[in-house]
Symmetry: C2
Subunit: 197 residues, 2 copies
DNA sequence: CTTGTCATGTAAAAGGTTACATGATTAG
DNA sequence: CTAATCATGTAACCTTTTACATGACAAG
């Protein structure tokens, strides 16, 4: 029941949302706490409505069905946060690939790492842009600060990944390069610059 | 077919493994590229054997069935690495919780963040320990270096997370603290110390 | 008047978890 | 001889993806 809590979380900000808007959130690669396919979102919304966690707030002319949280929905969100243990399970396709990469020849391996660097750089730009442009709108100050903090985390993680991937190319090229020093040095030497800098 | 490639990757190191050993890998919280439940691993192994991706190398007295890669298995691993696009999909329960946390009162929120810091510190210790103790055994040098590099990445990511969580407590306590500066400063000021230091 | 975006679904299949069941071997 | 660990599975259920289908509205 994980998407359920992601939807509750998205609706908890008070702004009514329809399935299409929620899908936009769950498919934005740079707003990446959770993702889901459209069909899953629509069927989950129907289930949640039947359970009384959300209710229809408005039907726009364009046949969009907007939902808001009910009191039960808000209670469930709180229960989840305070009662359920966080799930630290990880399924990281990218790292799995990097772990398997030694079976390839060096040229191919380097190409793959470079492709990943390109991807991460794109993400870095997108996040930096988001931080630079996002102004505090009608939202609650706490909501806004919280979301902004998460974006800073993602930016830092992306920067770490890029430095590390660059180090990986170095140790791939040079079989004598010390793994720990090469990577640890890179990770600490390149500070995360302030998003506005 | 994601677990399939995780298993191919685990067997690609040449050492025959049985279902139980693979399960140990996929359930070790600190060896965390992928995880899976025992029943899933056993049924996937059966399927893979039928498809000819792996074959039984030995049955030990203790009724354990050891598997090794076939040529087809190795080819499939290579095809996956070079032909399939990396899956950058993310489902991060922890970040989703942190994004929703503003609905709680400050005391409860701080407790949750502190619990997460405790968890991350435990992981940091485990990873540091792994890096300190793991010696290069019979394994190929490239395999060993690759795995070690990934451990360094995980250690760096954990360290980033801890610093960030500490910063999050600061901005939670002080509604006037600037989000960007508070977090960005923390992220760049605390370098990842060398694992042997 | 046609293409793109908005908007919502259904059905089938694949991927993954949980609960349960079983039994051998080893360490204390 | 008893508990822990090793070792493998089945069945039911839940979660997620993929492919398909539909149609309104807006912009060019």
């Amino acid at each position: 029941m994980a998407l359920r809590h992601a939807i509750l979380s998205a609706l908890s900000r008070g702004i009514p949302k329809n399935g299409y808007e929620l899908n936009a959130i769950f498919n934005d690669h740079d707003e990446r706490a959770w993702n889901a396919s459209p069909s899953q979102v629509y069927s989950e919304l129907t289930k949640m409505q039947k359970l009384g966690l959300i209710e229809v707030s408005e039907r726009t002319e364009r046949r969009a069905t907007n939902y808001v949280l009910t009191d039960d929905g808000r209670a469930e969100l709180e229960r989840w946060l305070t009662q359920d243990e966080p799930d630290h399970t990880i399924r990281d396709d990218v790292v799995m690939r990097l772990l398997s990469m030694w079976i390839l020849d060096e040229t191919t391996a380097r190409h793959l790492i470079e492709a990943e660097i390109t991807f991460q750089r794109r993400r870095e730009r997108a996040l930096r842009n988001k931080l630079d442009t996002s102004a505090q709108l009608a939202e609650d100050a706490r909501v806004w600060r919280n979301r902004r903090a998460v974006h800073v985390l993602w930016l830092a993680q992306t920067a770490t990944m890029i430095s590390w991937l660059e180090g990986l190319i170095t140790i791939l090229d040079d079989p004598d390069a010390p793994v720990d020093d090469t990577l640890a040095a890179l990770l600490s030497s390149e500070p995360v610059s302030s998003p506005r800098a």
